[in-house]
Amino acid sequence: MALLEVDDLSVVFTRKGEQPVVAVDGVSFDVDPGQTVGLVGESGCGKSVTALAIMGLLPRRGVRVSGSVRFDGTELLGLPAAAMRDRRGRDLGMVFQDPLSSLNPVVPIGLQITEVLERHRRTPRKKAMVQAGDLLTRVGIPDPRRRLDEYPHQLSGGMRQRALIAMALACRPKLLLADEPTTALDVTIQAQILALLAELVRAGDTDLGDTDLGDTALVMITHDLGVVAGLCDEVNVLYGGRVVERGPRHPLFAAPHHPYTVGLLASVPRLDGPRGQRLSPIRGSVSDNIPWTSGCAFAPRCPNVLGACTSVTPEMEFGPDERLLRCHNPVPAPQEVRA
């Protein structure tokens, strides 16, 4: 059974005196235990809102959430606040985009880690502090004893993100949601953090007593296909608040079938690509979208557009290569083009 089943999740922001904003529009995807799943898409396609909805962290007022989020067999939407609070930090952890603003500036790093252990495991402060030191070692922070007493502004960007990862993984959650965890970091640091995440969620056998990590399912949220390429077992491509293509990483990268995925891939610089090849960004912008109810939201920007695309809403169906697609006119695989 899947660990996380998101089914037809929709989030609508309703502000008084303003048009409702449909941020997430019927997203469905599953995550198996220990699996790493990518959620990829342009800015504004609803990635963060999806993650916040799963965590139950959306504002209480002015938001309508519908659909279903089942975690470990329990429906999370509509769960009483206290029950959800017990799961957050214990069963579900989250790492955010900007490590500096995501850490409390006036609380030492050590306490920001131990408070999770104190809350969910009732570990006494002293013992929790020792574990926090071990966790910092585990996430690759040198001289952890000293770092425990330091404040976020005394750490480098990479170290801050490592510390946040340590907090999110302190209670060994079954699921970690990482929302663009590397976007705010230097390129070299980005690679290190991604490698660390990959190692932490996979390594199930490292024995560090109470703080051994691993066997954690990971939902990796990013607008960068390069990030997904090195990490994810399965990839969901989001457009306009819906999943438009889903598949295992290698086949999806080798042969993307949705015109949007093709466009995304073409706009990523590749070291192995032919020299001098121009990067081709997707034309237009998200503001050109049409509502999903009147066709395909991507149609106005799509190079493969057909008449049906602006009149019939495409459903999630198996396309070429048994790939799940939401498209009336998928792009054929490269070898088919050559043939």
């Binding site: 965590m55 962290l57 609070r85 017990d86 799961r87 957050r88 930090g89 214990r90 952890g93 989250m94 955010f96 900007d98 603003s101 995501s102 850490l103 409390n104 500036p105 006036v106 609380v107 030492p108 306490l111 408070e115 999770v116 809350r119 969910h120 404040y151 502004h153 005394q154 946040l164 907090m167 999110a168």
Partner: protein, 335 residues
């Protein structure tokens, strides 16, 4: 940190020096003067000139000033001419200062004890009835003149209901032992509980009147700061860890929201001192504020000089303490 403190003390000396010059010149440019105050408007020119000479006011202002400095250096600030004529101005101040300190501290404690929790709750329930009530009452708190509030409280609770004393610091009938000059504290130290209780009852109404403006300001700053902090990413992180409300409130929201509040408490010292002048007058509360009010009416230069310079020093010192406590709360300031 040490260098910082030393520099601030240097600033303190400069501020006091500049202030003493301005104050000296300003007092002597006011219409009337101690001589008219003492002898009345109809005194003969001869007797006026005589008293003028006795008080040393016939000499040029700059000569008077250096004379004042020279004596002040040895702790002699002159003799009161109006407040308690014949008494040493510095002793008048020292004798009254504990009363005002006691009053101001209680007022600030009331303002903080009510303003911070209410500000927090108002921000959490933004737009709710408690928020609206708080915002309205804080507007009223700032708008209603302190002396009016003092009269109103005195009239309702002391005169009409007779629940609390109308004036003074302690009932004459209570034969209290003096230790520090802080009446409530004295009673606690000497275990004369009735004396403490009586002094506290005398403090209640003036402190309440005096706390109205600091309360309003603390409430509004707390509310605004909490609203800002609630939007911060680190509060979302705290929620993502499943922490309890108590921990999120104290460690993550209030500790950050306190930074602007602490600053504002320091700046309120000035408002507190000017408020004390009015409240002490209304309640005949024998503090520094009352001395200042009477000193102004009777143009008591020595008392006014001591009190105003001391008030400036208190103001600068309080703000130094505020800056230092800021560094305790915010580690980013420390390094």
């Amino acid at each position: 940190m040490l260098r910082y403190t030393v520099r601030r003390f240097g600033q303190l000396i400069l501020v006091v020096a500049a202030l003493s010059v301005l104050l000296f010149a300003w007092l002597r440019s006011l219409p009337g003067g101690p001589v008219s105050a003492l002898l009345g408007e109809r005194a003969t020119p001869e007797s006026r000139a005589q008293l003028q000479a006795v008080l040393g006011l016939d000499r040029p202002v700059h000569v008077q000033y250096f004379q004042f400095l020279g004596r002040a250096a040895s702790g002699d600030f002159g003799v009161s001419t109006g407040v308690q004529p014949g008494d040493d101005a510095l002793s008048i101040f020292l004798q009254r200062f504990p009363a005002t300190l006691e009053l101001s501290l209680l007022a600030i404690v009331l303002a903080v004890a009510a303003g911070i929790p209410l500000g927090y709750v108002a921000a959490r329930r933004r737009g709710g009835w408690l928020d609206n009530a708080g915002v309205v009452s804080s507007l009223v708190g700032v708008a209603v003149p302190v002396f009016f509030l003092a009269f109103l409280l005195k009239y309702v609770f002391a005169v009409e209901l007779g629940m609390l004393p109308t004036s003074g610091r302690q009932n004459a009938g209570i034969d209290a032992t003096r230790v520090t000059g802080f009446f409530v504290l004295d009673g606690l130290l000497t275990r004369e509980w009735d004396a403490s209780w009586d002094a506290l009852k005398h403090l209640m109404l003036p402190a309440l009147a005096l706390s109205s403006i600091p309360f309003a300001v603390v409430f509004r700053i707390t509310r605004a700061a909490v609203l800002d902090v609630l939007d911060e990413d680190y509060v979302r992180t705290a929620y993502s860890k499943g922490l309890t409300d108590t921990v999120i409130r104290g460690r993550h929201v209030l500790r950050n929201a306190m930074l602007p509040v602490v600053t504002i408490i320091g700046l309120q010292t000035g408002a507190l001192l000017s408020g004390a002048v009015l409240t002490e007058k209304v309640f005949a509360f024998q503090g520094v504020g009352e001395a200042l009010a009477i000193g102004f009416e009777r143009r008591d230069y020595p008392v006014l000089q001591v009190v105003i310079i001391a008030a400036a020093m208190v103001y600068v010192l309080v703000n130094l303490i505020v800056d230092l406590s800021y560094a305790v709360i915010d580690p980013r300031v420390r390094t």
